[in-house]
Symmetry: C2
Subunit: 209 residues, 2 copies
Amino acid sequence: MRIEGADPGTVRPGGRTARVRASVLQAAGDALAEHGFAGLDLADIARRAEVGKTTVYRRWGTVTILVADLLTDMAEQSLPRTETGSLLGDLKANARLVQRTLADPRQGALFKAVIAAATCEAKTAEALHRFYDIRVKEWAPCVQQAIDRGEVPEGTDVHEVIRAVSAPLYYRLLTSSGGLDEAAADQAAEAAVAAARAGAYLRGDEGHA
Amino acid sequence: MRIEGADPGTVRPGGRTARVRASVLQAAGDALAEHGFAGLDLADIARRAEVGKTTVYRRWGTVTILVADLLTDMAEQSLPRTETGSLLGDLKANARLVQRTLADPRQGALFKAVIAAATCEAKTAEALHRFYDIRVKEWAPCVQQAIDRGEVPEGTDVHEVIRAVSAPLYYRLLTSSGGLDEAAADQAAEAAVAAARAGAYLRGDEGHA
DNA sequence: CTCATAATGGCACTCCAGTTTCGTTAATCA
DNA sequence: TGATTAACGAAACTGGAGTGCCATTATGAG
């Protein structure tokens, strides 16, 4: 007897089902990086993935849901964080990592597309938020260490500092034609450190800048 | 004799043509705010604008080009800048303006949609970049005044400081589920001021943060 | 290994976004 | 004011995105 509420792919997730998912997500990433979010059709993805288009429509249904799944997959592949001993050093490492990712043609286009998709569907937006929450949490400890060392005032919102590093880089990517070079990354890190030291990111406080 | 290369709407831009453009852009804004960038079809816009769908397809052709035109229109409607006498005051005013705009359901959705559209087409991206260039230029003088007053070091990139105020707000809008409140706006302004004072936005220099 | 059935994939079908055609309306110029 | 023709709009048309059906494949349990 068939269980009505079960989504396809959940009862027998191994073997072919997993292979199909991996292949489709790979193809989706390629297609997004190439054509962007608009002008993307599932039939094309199915062709690239060498999978029947019926399967893609049945398991994901829409482009935005497929992107949400892609984001879940991307979130699982976490990059290890480097430690340099100083807040500026750590944040520069973070900023350069983000900058390199966004400046890379394929990755940059993919991130743009993924952000665009997230503006169109709540489920996708949720997946995107989870993705960034994970990344931010991964790097937050280096700010805590800076607090412990006395580099940054007690009560600083460590997550907000990490976000402050990425924000100007993403803002550039989306709203400006200027290139994303290492100087931009370093500037982002330096600005975040300066603001954090000045107490601009104190929790539940307006700061004293 | 018909001029082959002339786009429709360029030879007789007055009267009805202008009315149609205004009506369609209004409808496009409404539709974008309601349905987002995806799930937007030109036939729906034509219906809202009480205009033949043939006209919309002929004059704009695709959603992304229509959005580019909408952005050109939005760029022309400039908001006057307030002056408070201090850099922090000016930037807080700017941050709150941005925050109120993005937090407003209609405007926020519209901006998200417009950014999404810009990731899909070069022409639209160009229009978006122009839009922000204009806004940044509008506010840049208040940073120059701060330099003249000695609040901020000589050689600071005034445009970069303005962008630094908006960046965290847009980053929140797109990548986080956290609400955009006045505290977020104030924090963005304070961080920008602290970083600017510390020399993080010195032109062609890595700063000394 | 064998069985029950989850999941896939090909094919035919539907439906609507986007196009073409052509008659009507009205902007611009003399 | 009238002539010219740019621009609009209704209707008919078309291609392909998305769906339903069913035979085939192969997963996972016993």
